[in-house]
Symmetry: C2
Subunit: 136 residues, 2 copies
DNA sequence: GGGCCCTTTAGACGCTGTCTAAATCTCGAC
DNA sequence: GTCGAGATTTAGACAGCGTCTAAAGGGCCC
């Protein structure tokens, strides 16, 4: 469960509005990695008059305020991820679907030893096919 | 140094043409990670009549034939990489520039242990700032 | 030269995302 | 409750990147 959505917005200095709540209700709860167009389509279902510009502005605002992350993993596919903790991503070659890989499922070493760079964040991006077995 | 470019194309079943050679000459030799538009701009310098469609078609052809890789690391920025060996990438937050990180500079473990996925390839994507010191 | 197929071209088109100017809403001050 | 300033939303125009299309061009074998 999560703190209620209006409270989350206020805590991040975002004035709640019907439109922002509708966007937040979808995008903060989904397990998917939706594109802006997908968010627009979904939110239009509950708030038919909302405009594309508002959805884009709202998503960008959420990213700036740090309640959403933006991922660019595949061509022409900017996608939003409400899961803020570090984790890795697996991209299904066949469908383009993005699946989360828990941080501890992989072990990345020597990042601190890199010279010449000051790493703010990193993740492993894996590509391939899903097999029958479940994620570890 | 590399085998001569017409030979590389033929070896990959690509009929050489003036346009394809001009694109290959630039994109297979560069150390950068150029976008299609950048390739178009560069090649237009030596072959002014070349059309955008040809550059895009040629780059896509090279990717399909496996002499180039396509990277999507940052928003609105599909980029091509002639370096085929596995390596990681560092994205400079300030400039958006992409720098290669040698495969052995990092150590990623437990990829084989992942359940439910059949990994074809993976890489670490790092983001941050460049610091004074050089890459290791 | 003639014919065939591959390649290239210019421009139209489509999609994603941003911008603009006007309309609407919110909320505190009165 | 009313007012007004500032924030928010809206529709549509616009911009950039990439693809598609139909026609033109080129290479090569007969």
């Amino acid at each position: 469960m999560q703190a209620d959505v209006p409270e989350i917005l206020r805590r991040h200095g975002i004035q709640p509005s019907a439109q922002r709540l509708a966007v937040a209700d979808y995008v903060l709860r989904t397990e998917d990695h939706p594109s802006a167009e997908r968010v627009f389509a979904k939110v239009s279902g509950t708030l038919p008059m909302i405009s594309r510009a508002t959805v884009y502005n709202t998503l960008n605002l959420f990213v700036r305020r740090g309640i959403l992350r933006q991922l660019v993993l595949a061509e022409g596919n900017v996608v939003f991820d409400p899961k803020l903790e570090p984790h890795h991503h697996f991209v299904d070659d066949a469908t383009g679907e993005i699946h989360d890989i828990p941080w501890d499922a992989l072990d990345v070493r020597k990042v601190e030893a890199l010279r010449g760079v000051d790493v703010r964040e990193y993740q492993v991006v894996l590509r391939g096919r899903r097999s029958g077995r479940r994620h570890s």
